[in-house]
């Protein structure tokens, strides 16, 4: 039995469709209800929906053998897992954004509001910039408007939310997409099944061109 942690939401549904096409179907998952765990004994697979930012934890600790997590989560938490495949889904970028008229005054410590303190710290320490991290859990965009921070480090998909709040992306830190990850120990003992899943997902990955 392979345990798969899927990220709740649109991305997770797309990912499930890919698993289904690979022969790991579990029709009950499409029923509208509040259940979180779905199993198809015949296909040897069990899916569960978890918060996207928790997928890596489930996989790292072996509650799930494999899962699909955003590269942002993998960079932020650095879980000890295998990263088997870039699914080329859920594409966006981690970026620094600020008010349109923002000028980086290097005389002062830069105040950075973010949900991703480790990514922000790593990015600015490579630039040798002194920063103050303000860890927020949501609505990051209002931080510069209320003068809580100078810039924000956040995920930018279309830039529409930024625009509506009078902000714009200034620098791209890293491109983000969804990745297939596997628990290191599970990979040893379920190697064939995990390899099969990986290969048939790989065949379905859409390239950019």
């Amino acid at each position: 039995m392979i345990n798969v942690a899927l990220p709740k939401g649109r991305l997770g549904e797309k990912v499930y469709d890919m698993f289904e096409k690979s022969g790991y179907e579990c029709p009950s998952i499409k029923e509208v209800n509040r259940k979180l765990i779905f199993e198809n004994e015949e296909a040897g697979v069990r899916y569960f929906w978890v918060k996207p930012s928790d997928v890596a934890i489930y996989v790292e600790r072996g509650a799930a053998d494999i899962g699909v997590a955003g590269k942002d989560i993998l960079l932020e938490y650095a879980p000890d897992v295998y990263e088997l495949l870039d699914m080329n889904l859920g594409k966006c970028r981690m970026a620094v954004a600020a008010k349109k008229d923002f000028r980086d005054n290097t005389e002062n410590t830069l105040r950075v509001a973010t949900k991703f303190p480790n990514i922000a710290k790593d990015y600015y320490s490579k630039k040798g910039r002194d920063i103050d991290i303000i860890k927020l859990n949501g609505s990051i965009e209002i931080a510069p408007i209320l003068n809580l921070s100078d810039v924000i480090v956040d995920i930018v998909e279309t830039g529409k939310t930024l625009l509506e709040n009078d902000l714009e992306p200034k620098e791209t830190i890293v491109p983000i997409s969804a990745r297939l990850i596997a628990n290191k120990s599970s990979f040893k003992f379920k190697m064939e099944q995990i390899e099969n899943i990986k290969n048939s997902l790989k065949a379905q990955v859409k390239t950019d061109d």
Binding site: E60, R61, G62, D80, V81, Y82, E83, L84, L85, D86, N183, K184, S185, S186, K188, F189, M191
Partner: protein, 374 residues
């Protein structure tokens, strides 16, 4: 002699491993709890976590609670020609846990083989690693890699140290798309990129992987590392646990300390590696020593939840008594119940949060049953 239902997994493992290592002539190495902090400062990168608990000793020297055992053992051995010193240990080490960001006491057992080591010694240590895993669980896998091969592949593409480090991280994650991206960004040729990707992509049984490796290993350095690796693999392939050994180059270790074979052990139902080790001649050189060395550690704390059988009850029976009970009668009743093979907790009243199979009350010399939950 040992009651299997009383000993915990990690305690059983300590006994089994101790007797295993003794059979092969390894002698116990008992060290003091503290070590001079200086030793760890000089070899900081060798440590798994770089935080160390320190305090000032009576003579004003800065001491540390051991975060690692290998460095202390290396420090206390001598370079002797043609002999190897074989020691095993069972020690607590103090490291920062990744999850709580606090210091944690970790029970660790392992062995070190230091001196003029040859192919046989390397084989012996790897096979003892496999046997150690076998003593913990029937279902285990020992992954084997060779740092010489990995570093020669990286050298052959001639990338910068910074890029090499990034590629190494991707190798550790089996992250093929990451490697391709780094190569593209750093103008590494498609052919060289393919070489690294195939190194990551080739894993599994020795007999399957070795022929694939021969195709990748095209420089003299690669060929000589592969030749050494093949001679070790040839010994392992005819061993009793050959079907449990895999070659896997994703074992990411620091190349500044390790040089030859490195390995990592997993047992089913434990989500992290339970054993890791390798040949660390580079560390020896860094510490001013001429000898070679190889060893491994078993992380016993990871075994706590392995095959955990939830106990339904804390105790078999609670025996209640009151003011009128004669202590001698109570003692007799307890001894009788224990002789019957039951666990007994004597109380005046039923304590909270204790689950019991049977509630008994002593009445004069007789024991009455008040409740039975079985």
């Amino acid at each position: 002699m040992f009651l299997s239902n009383i000993l915990k997994n990690e305690e059983k493992a300590v006994f089994a491993l101790r007797s295993l290592y003794r059979k092969y002539g390894y002698t116990p190495f008992k060290m003091s709890k503290f070590e001079e902090y200086d030793l760890y400062v000089r070899n900081k990168d060798f440590l798994v976590s770089d935080s160390v608990i320190t305090f000032t000793g009576m003579n004003g020297k800065l001491l540390a609670l051991k975060p690692d055992v290998t460095l202390s053992i290396v420090k206390n051995t001598k370079d002797l020609p043609d002999t190897v010193q074989k020691v095993y240990y069972n020690e607590n080490v103090y490291r920062v846990s990744k999850n709580t960001h606090e210091f944690k006491e970790i029970m660790q057992t392992g062995l070190e083989c230091i001196g003029a080591i040859g192919i046989y010694d390397i084989y012996e240590v790897i096979s003892l690693a496999a046997k150690s895993l076998g003593a913990i669980s029937e279902n285990f896998v020992l992954d084997l890699s060779h740092i010489g091969i990995v570093s020669a592949v990286l050298d052959s593409i001639g990338c910068s140290r910074e890029t090499g480090k990034k590629i190494l991280t991707c190798i550790g994650e089996k992250n093929q798309s990451g490697i391709e991206k780094i190569c593209a960004e750093n103008n590494i040729s498609g052919e060289d990129c393919e070489k690294i990707v195939s190194l990551v992509g080739t894993y599994g049984r020795i007999e399957k992987v070795i022929p694939e490796l021969r195709a990748i290993c095209d420089t003299p350095e690669l060929k000589s590392s592969l030749a050494e690796f093949e001679s070790i693999c040839a010994l392992l392939i005819s061993s009793e646990f050959s079907d449990k050994i895999n070659i896997d180059f994703s074992i990411a270790t620091d190349m500044r300390y390790y040089n030859g074979v490195v390995f990592q052990g997993f047992v089913e139902n434990v989500p992290t590696g339970v054993l890791s080790g390798g040949q660390y001649d580079n560390l020896m050189k860094k510490m001013g020593r001429k000898s070679g060395a190889i060893g491994f550690a078993v992380y016993l704390d990871t075994l706590e939840r392995l095959n955990l059988v939830e106990k339904k009850y804390d105790v078999d029976c609670i025996l209640l008594y009151d003011e009128s009970t004669e202590p001698a009668d109570l003692a007799n009743a307890v001894n009788k119940l224990i002789a019957d093979g039951r666990e007994v907790m004597v109380q005046k009243a039923v304590p909270e949060n204790i689950k019991y199979k049977q509630l008994l009350k002593i009445n004069g010399k007789e024991v009455d049953e008040l409740e039975n939950n079985d």
